[in-house]
Homo-oligomer: 477 residues x 2
């Protein structure tokens, strides 16, 4: 079928698809990509059913269905129950191809929202559960009560209403020792790590130790600021914080770590290692940067309190609403040691880089009114149910796959037979299921590890979840 | 009266004020500052009336009134009609004194919101006029209509709904040649300039020419990125853009300029100079960075369209809601040349530095529904009325002061007799009126210029405006 043909019937208009190369599916995919790129298939256009297009092209229906699924996974198309397959709204227009289609560095390892419906990438909560009505209620109260000055250039620490609400919440729910005066509101965790990188550089710190597994976007934020990021070694119990005090040669000025729930492996840092970390910070004058990204979500036992509570003068606590509410709010916070507040504000203030005052006031109202607690409790139940469904489905349909890291958080690690990670990822892509392997989170310093998947079970909407779970089970060995 | 005394009656509780030094007013001010610092006067505490405290201390009432007014101007106290004088909510608590009381670099030259009520600093709109009800209405519609993916990690260009609404609005109201694909939403102008600084540095640009008068926070953002910022010379007609093409030795890779309304002098760039700027950019491959900070506000003639309309491939258009709605929203936009979009996104994307998706969707709704146009029209009338009141008051009470730069914008330049700028500023401070002289905006390269004030007539609330205007007239020669 190499060659080209106009497929007018299925599209209701002439569409010339040039299908070339050895594989039918690959050829069809490239032809559709090209039609989107050149604008011949406009964003929002509904595609013919796979049956109709297959008939029109004279190919097997599965070939078209597979091509559609993979293009959905790539973000070119979207597929929604009841509205068929359409060209994604954000698919690249011709001149912007380079920047719109290539994922930006920070998008690597993240599902493209608006792209594939069947994604089990970790890192995103169930966006369909955003509490719209409650949030609007809080926004109304916030807008009504706000003093005029709230609409002006804001305090670089963030709105006092939000800092007051957070101080109470963080003390109660995470054991953070905070007072409103030392909380700094950030535009998500990302701004926090950038500000800290600037502060550390100004203090002539050269190295920030990180974990053997994590998000490379965080490591890159540090290296972009001129900091080296050697990895702490890992053993069966998790990150070996003792390496800091031994003769291992690591002499960092700070350590970036996820003590409550290692990302992505899922364990809590053992008590003796927590102690070792704080001891190291005290003895060396170093700083612990505590990334408490999903500390609200723990299912099987008492929450692991924030490390910061052990020593607020040596630990910078970093939190965010990206997992508990929505990443789109771009709201997070930092609780630095008292002596560091001025330096953090100097780094923040010079660029006048603040978060929206209205969102800050709304979140303050949302937290202070108890709506945040209620939302987190509700989501904890939902995610726990999903986790249980994942574990049950795997036990039944993929009994050889061991699940770990499930006591907390929004993702699980699925241990695969040695050597099978890449094959499973390939099979998933063919099914239009976006999955990530553990290796995508491995630090360059760390030796290749187990074959495993990092499955974000919070990401799909409720309607997409059963299909995603089923697709997952089908590609597992 | 050097010494100390407890003034229990006036405060309704014991308050020990240690009043020392030669001047009564200065001594009282320092004693009050110290009481706030140490927490003995808590934020929100209502101070005794100046009459009562004066009686209690045995000093003239004006001494107390002057001390109060100056502390209001400094941000330690607030004074509101009907609720008396109180300790400012954000007044520094003891341990945070250093960072909370010293203005941060970007706060220099800006009134502290929440601080003095009588401020005529330029750069802030009337915050009391923020359209709360209309904004909430737009937020409700935005929250109802938002697709789930809007709550996720967003497109680094910003929400498509907002870019679509802005493209239409900017074309219509400012003559900007934009399409949604090339608009990049920014967290205010500040993020725009930082992103452009990063892009220019990556392109090995070393110099960005700026105007002889402007905001030093913008110049510092560029120099912090490693760029030199020589100033373009100035003559009676405004910024001499011809200097770029002459033998003056200026060979910048870009020019940052306010063509529609020079900040702070207030003129529009003359047509031949606009043409010269674009010619320079085309011939040299340089970039014009067009800061259109208050282009919506022009009173006496047709708006000056955006320079970007002349040559979208050599001009980066930068706009913001900071003057038209509120700085607290932290929303702005950039329309770069098509070939630059990818580089801007690379600079933006790596740090995952995005604006709140909900505010973006709300602004999109606000613009698309026509509420933004209505608000701007209403504010234009209000500000025009203020400007006319300013001009009338000066004509009557300070006829020797010439007013310039009043055809547009939210501020005016008041020309003072040579050598009098500092004395006027000192007199204003003593009256508790926050004013800024023209010299505060002068580039280090520029020779000392005229003595003048830059008066932001949009800043006071309606209730504070008559008092501010009166205080201004009283300190003018």
């Amino acid at each position: 079928m190499t060659g080209s043909r106009a497929i007018s019937a299925a599209f209701g208009a002439d569409l010339h698809l040039e299908i070339q190369g050895p594989g039918l599916r690959a050829g069809l995919m490239e032809a559709l990509r090209e039609a989107v790129r050149t604008g011949r298939l406009a964003p929002g256009t509904r595609l013919p059913s796979s049956r109709a297009l297959a008939a029109d092209l004279g190919v097997a229906r599965n070939t078209v269905a597979d091509a559609y699924a993979e293009l959905v996974a790539e973000g070119w198309l979207t597929a929604r129950q009841g509205s068929g397959t359409r060209v994604a709204r954000r698919a690249a227009a011709p001149a912007r191809r380079a920047q719109a289609v290539e994922p930006l560095p920070w998008q690597r390892g993240r599902p493209r929202t608006g792209g594939p419906l069947r994604t089990l990438h970790p890192g995103t909560p169930d966006l369909a559960s955003f509490p719209r009505a409650e949030w609007l209620k809080a926004a109304r109260r916030a807008l009504t009560d706000a003093p005029h000055e709230a609409f002006g250039y804001t305090d670089p620490r963030g709105r006092p209403e939000l800092r007051t609400a957070l101080a109470e919440y963080l003390a109660r729910s995470r054991g953070v020792r905070a007072d409103p005066e030392r909380i700094v509101v950030c535009s998500g965790f990302a701004q926090g790590i950038l500000l800290l990188a600037a502060v550390l550089r100004a203090r002539r710190v050269r190295e920030v130790a990180v974990e053997s597994y994590g998000l490379d976007v965080h490591w890159r934020a540090l290296t972009a600021a001129g900091l080296r990021t050697p990895a702490l070694p890992l053993d069966g119990l998790g990150t070996r914080t003792e390496a800091l005090t031994g003769d291992g040669g690591l002499r960092p000025g700070a350590v970036l770590i996820t003590p409550a729930h290692q990302f992505p492996l899922g364990g809590a840092l053992a008590p003796d290692r927590r102690a070792a970390l704080v001891d190291w910070a005290r003895a060396s004058g170093g700083l612990v940067l505590e990334d408490d990204y999903d500390g609200e979500f723990r299912y099987d036992r008492q929450p692991v309190g924030a490390l910061q509570g052990l020593d607020p003068e040596h630990v910078v606590y970093l939190g965010t609403v990206s997992k508990s509410l929505a990443p789109g709010l771009r709201l997070g916070w930092m609780v630095p040691p008292r002596h560091l507040v001025g330096e953090v504000l100097a780094a923040k203030g010079e660029v006048e880089w603040a978060s929206s005052a209205l969102d800050q006031l709304t979140l303050a109202e949302f937290v202070a009114s108890g709506a945040y607690d209620r939302h987190v409790r509700g989501m904890r139940l939902r995610y726990r149910r999903r986790r249980d469904q994942l574990v049950a489905a795997l036990a039944e349909r993929a009994p050889g796959v061991r699940v770990t890291g499930i006591a907390a958080g929004l993702h699980a690690v699925l241990e695969l037979p040695p050597g099978s990670e890449r094959a499973v990822l390939r099979a998933a892509a063919l099914q239009g299921l976006a999955l990530q392997g553990l290796d995508a989170f491995r630090h360059p310093d760390a030796p290749p590890g187990r074959d495993a998947l990092v499955v974000g079970y919070a990401t799909p909407t409720d309607s997409a979840w059963p299909g995603a779970l089923d697709a997952l089970c089908r590609v597992l060995p």
